[in-house]
């Protein structure tokens, strides 16, 4: 019953696992980045659900508002920072993807890494 009551945590965990699976298994690097963003979203979702209150109100104390009804503002403030960080990581990663595509002409991880092994072999000879 406790698990059913905390169904939002299950949602976050499922989302997190989908993201991690995508990052690890997918071969296309754009899809890997999408997986990364899904992971981030899962964590943001987890944080926001921590502060959730049924029929909650904004945590501003005016006219005798009931403190027990107030939503916890701290996770929201933290996630605002988290979103900024996530956007910058994605931006940097996408610019690296552009450079990779210009240099190698492919977005396939296997291709990129196989190239590396071949180059290492050539350098060894």
């Amino acid at each position: 019953m406790r698990l059913l009551h905390n169904y939002h945590y299950i949602g976050a965990v499922i989302l997190f696992c989908i993201g991690l699976y995508t990052v690890i298994v997918r071969r296309n690097i754009i899809k890997k980045l999408i997986g990364l963003n899904i992971m981030e979203t899962a964590v943001f979702f987890f944080y926001i659900s921590l502060g959730y209150v049924d029929n909650g109100i904004a945590p501003i104390r005016v006219g005798g508002a009931d403190p027990s009804k107030m939503v916890n503002p701290i996770p929201q403030a933290l996630i605002l920072t988290g979103i900024v960080v996530a956007v910058s990581v994605t931006a940097l990663a996408l610019s690296l993807v552009i450079l990779l595509y210009r240099q190698f002409g492919t977005l396939d991880v296997d291709h990129l890494m196989r190239d590396e092994a071949e180059e290492a072999k050539e350098a060894g000879e």
């Binding site: 997190f16 991690l20 990052v23 690097i29 890997k32 990364l36 992971m39 981030e40 964590v43 987890f46 944080y47 921590l50 701290i74 996770p75 933290l78 920072t81 988290g82 960080v85 910058s88 990581v89 940097l92 990663a93 690296l96 993807v97 450079l99 990779l100 240099q103 190698f104 990129l112 590396e116 060894g124």
Partner: protein, 494 residues
Amino acid sequence: MGAYRHFPVLMITIPMLGAVLLPFLGYLRKRWVATATLLPLAVSAVLGLLLIGRIPADGYLSYELGSWPPPFGNEIRVDYLGLFMMLIVCGISLLALVFSMRYIEREVEGPKLTAFYVLFLLLSAAMLGFTATGDIFNLFVFMEILALSSYALVAVAGNRNAVRAAFKYLLMGAPSSIMVLLAIGFLYSVTGSLNMADLSTRIAESSYSEVLIVAYILFVIGFGVKAALFPMHMWLPDAHSIAPSPVSAMLSGLLVEVSAFAIIRVTFSVFGSGAENLIGGTVDALGIFAAAAALFGGIMAIIQKDLKMMIAYSTISHIGYIFLGITAFTAEGLAGAMYHVLDHGLAKACLFLCAGSFIYVKGYRRIDDLKGAWRQMPWTCFAFAVASISVIGVPPTAGFISKWYLILGNIEAGNYFYVFVLLSGSILAAVYCFRVIYYMFFQPPKEGAWESRTNEASPSMLAPIWILSFGTLFFGVFSYLLIPSLLKAAAFLL
């Protein structure tokens, strides 16, 4: 209440502000950018030096940002180990920066030069903040600044291999950051606090032991990737060997150590001694990985042909040593780990800068090409030899002192197997270091490799190399200056 109370926060904000203002200077007066980068770091270093003696070994300096009292507001808390770490960061960053003033123009050109210095300053500032912060969410924010600037610095040369290495690093680094964020969320959900000191008292009273264990494991994985602990090290050899040499020195001499320091913070300041039975299992597993890292890194370093690749694998091995000091859970072990951070930072930065000056002067990366190098570049070769001896851990270098305390700590903890691992790690280090030294000093040069009269690296490159290698000797001979306070600080933390 002297002005020195404000020094820790100024040490972080001045380089950060410098990094913001530098692009404008780059737009107006391009030639001054390199010199202007030195200034904020030098100010930070001076402020840090002025703090010496003001922070007792068993105390700390707390700074309330915006005058909000600690459990609610952001806190900057510098204890003795934190100051020690901050001074290492300032010192090695300054030296690597002096080296790169001449070196980097060869690898990075045009408008990207300003970007390089901005990223460099941002990396140093983030590392200072990372070690000093007393708030666990700020730890995450500084880690992200640090990680983003280091991804970009690996890619800064812009060629095929650099971009690929940076992307590989990012693909491992970004998920690990998310795991740290998730771990912070777990801690917040069961304790309702983000201040490290407040967290440690709340964790001791908390009844949610499963959540706390999972959070600790996530912290270890998250910071472990950044510190390149053994099973999570795959990004390191590429990133460290392909990045420009001063950047390699920063990554290998500082970044991995700072991440290991974050694990010290989380283990001792957040989870603390009250939670020893909580995290005991994870710490044992960490010890096994650390031992595997020490041996694996050493063996892989022996079979490398590329000089920078060899130094990078040696870093993996030494990260294992630092973690073996942490997992001993004794004052000697922790003091040894901190001293190893100092000694490894100096020695590895020196080795990477030496490798950089070989690349700068001759373009040689392979160990074979260094045969007989000392005839043409004696100063670089001698500095390389001194730093290698410190990596092996031969007296009178600092490497010997740190290894001594790591072994003492593990004997006290009763981990005799780890003592064996530490000693065999030294033998492996001797194998890979003496091979290079043997090639440099006792082998005839290859046909045509060193025949034409080549000049030694320029003084602005040799000076940082020699200061670093002299540092390993200095801290080996005068270890009594630091060791008693480090032992006291470690005992205070435990």
